[in-house]
Amino acid sequence: MSQHPLHLPADSNQLDVTDSIFIADQISWQVDELRILDSLSFEVKRNEFLGFIGPNGAGKSSLLRCLFGKNSISTGSLSFNQRAINQYSRRELAQQIAVLIQEPPTQFEMSVFDVVAMGLIPNRPLFSFSTQEDKQTITHALEKVELLNKAQNAFNTLSGGEKQRVMVARAIVQDPKVLILDEPTNHLDIQHQIDVLQLAKEMNITVLLSIHDLNMAAAFCDRLILMKEGRIITSGEPDSVLTRDNLEYVFSIRAQVDSHPFHSGKRITYDFSPDTQIKKSIISPKDISELGAEK
């Protein structure tokens, strides 16, 4: 194991106060008249690996953006370390929260090393020269994601999986308390999906991610929050969230849920045959009340 400070436990004095690093109380977020997130309440425990699952447009990315301060909530209260999130400066948040997002490719060639070096920005004064120590931190991080041999390559020439590992290295360099990943496994082959999630897990910090692959979610996450149409349907341990009924309701798909042969979690198998596909207009409690209102 490397000697990087990340592998030390989180600040113990903060642990005494409370177990929750994020507390969201009835938060909503809307763009003009359109309400994207609707009265969400949840807590994020320190050092847990928390997955947000749900169909496209459920509001997972919007919610994650609220958590790192990109979206400012319209109503409700959202606190990070017992302080309202909007009371933090952008820099203060960046010192504690690292975010992995998929950036559109840039026209300018940047080396892998330079991209990882950006992780130092939040913790360095505006004007400073790079030190030998900085270089070592970056080298360690690249070593960790097994890309040291490509340090001087152009970032644009890397494969999708390698790019994502570079971004993980940048997050490691940023030395945060929380890591937020927005669909980190998209477009990656199965080996790289596991790599990225494993690397995130090994950082031993609070990890929040949105993820589409339910089997991956079951295998890696300590807890899941299931979302649909800007609301939280249910949350809890993967076993209790990934039930046949929940999946049917949220994803409109028939699935079989049983024990995974290789680990203690659940395995989800989807039924693709056309005659068993569930109609999109599946009757839900919400639909029934709306029907009633129309009459």
Partner: protein
């Protein structure tokens, strides 16, 4: 690509100094290199002496110090200023085509200067003021046009282009309605020239460039992060849109000060940063350094070409840069498509 940056830096500094000396010796009267060298580096304190002790002819001394050096240094400063603003604008907008022209900054400054020249006077201080006001106008118009979506780079660029065309139209209108004599003065001015530069014109661009460079270097990591992507930069705690706006304003000031002195000179701000990135990679402090040496010496050579290509006539500098620039891009495009290194 294995050559270390310090070697490239030393070579490029040497090339810049050499360019200045060679350019000083070339002209309607050829001053021998030794005389230029002695005049510039040995007896620079003897200006005005009839026959200096270090053996420089008084006529040469006068040509070098009163005619050529101010002109060449202005060319140097213009090359530096336009190149570094181009590099910064390209980075903060992530657009390889960005330069002071695309954003309408040059058009605004030109309009301001043309208004002043045609209505008030040709005094440099008022032209500078006009150019600054015009540059400010273009930035304000661009931001107003982009409105709330000014945080989006694409909208910012599009409104910049719109403003650029609008202000250019006004400039053309003024030229069109001027009397023939003023019109020809304006036209020649708009195409760019260093010929009228004097020592007194140099301090303002010099100060603008030094202040700009210092700020660019201080903010280089933040600008680099924006170059990689807005949202990523946000997550690193960088005030993205404020920084972009500040850089835009800074670039406008440098451009306006230069346009006021030398008129409209295109393509340099677009072309030089790309050559620099090609040589030293995309780290901003290296790119800026190369912009200073390469951009500066490029402009010095452009000025030499403008003075020597036609017998007894000085071509507008803008024509030379545009001609070289388009040729250059054609070559780059050809080699790029072959090596696919973009």
């Amino acid at each position: 690509m294995k050559v270390s940056f310090s070697i490239i830096a030393l070579v490029s500094i040497g090339f810049t100094l050499l360019s200045v000396v060679v350019a000083t010796s070339i002209g309607s009267v050829d001053v021998p290199f030794s005389q230029v060298f002695n005049s510039v580096f040995v007896c620079s304190n003897d200006i005005g002496a009839s026959k200096s002790h270090c053996g420089v002819d008084a006529v040469y001394q006068k040509i070098v110090w009163e005619i050529r050096l101010p002109r060449i240094l202005m060319a140097l400063l213009t090359g530096i200023g336009l190149s570094i603003t181009g590099a910064i604008l390209q980075s903060v907008t992530r657009n390889p085509l960005a330069d002071p022209y695309l954003f309408g900054i040059s058009a605004g400054s030109a309009l301001g200067a043309v208004v002043v020249i045609s209505t008030i006077s040709g005094a440099m201080i008022s032209i500078t003021f006009g150019a600054l006001a015009g540059g400010a106008l273009s930035v304000i118009l661009m931001l107003t046009l982009a409105g709330r979506s000014a945080v989006q780079v694409e909208r910012l660029l599009l409104s910049g282009v719109a403003v650029s065309f609008m202000l250019s139209a006004f400039t053309s209108l003024i030229v069109y309605y001027s009397d023939p004599e003023t019109a020809s003065t304006l036209l020649f001015w708009m195409m760019g020239s260093f010929s009228n530069s004097e020592w007194g014109d140099l301090p303002l661009p010099l100060i603008a460039i030094i202040v700009g460079l210092l700020l660019f270097v201080v903010f280089r990591r933040w600008i680099g992060a924006i170059q990689a992507g807005d949202e990523g930069a946000f997550t690193l705690g960088i005030p993205v849109s404020q920084l972009r706006l500040a850089m835009l304003v800074l670039c406008s000031i440098i451009t306006a000060v230069l346009v006021a002195q030398v008129g409209g000179i295109g393509f340099v701000g677009l072309m030089i940063p790309h050559i620099c990135r090609f040589i030293v990679g995309s780290q901003l402090h290296k790119v800026l350094f190369m912009c200073v040496t390469l951009g500066g010496s490029f402009m010095v050579w452009v000025d030499v070409i403008a003075h020597t290509i036609l017998e007894s006539q000085v071509l507008p500098v803008g024509i030379v840069t545009s001609a070289i620039g388009s040729l250059f891009f054609f070559v780059i495009l050809k080699t790029r498509s072959r090596t696919q290194s973009f």
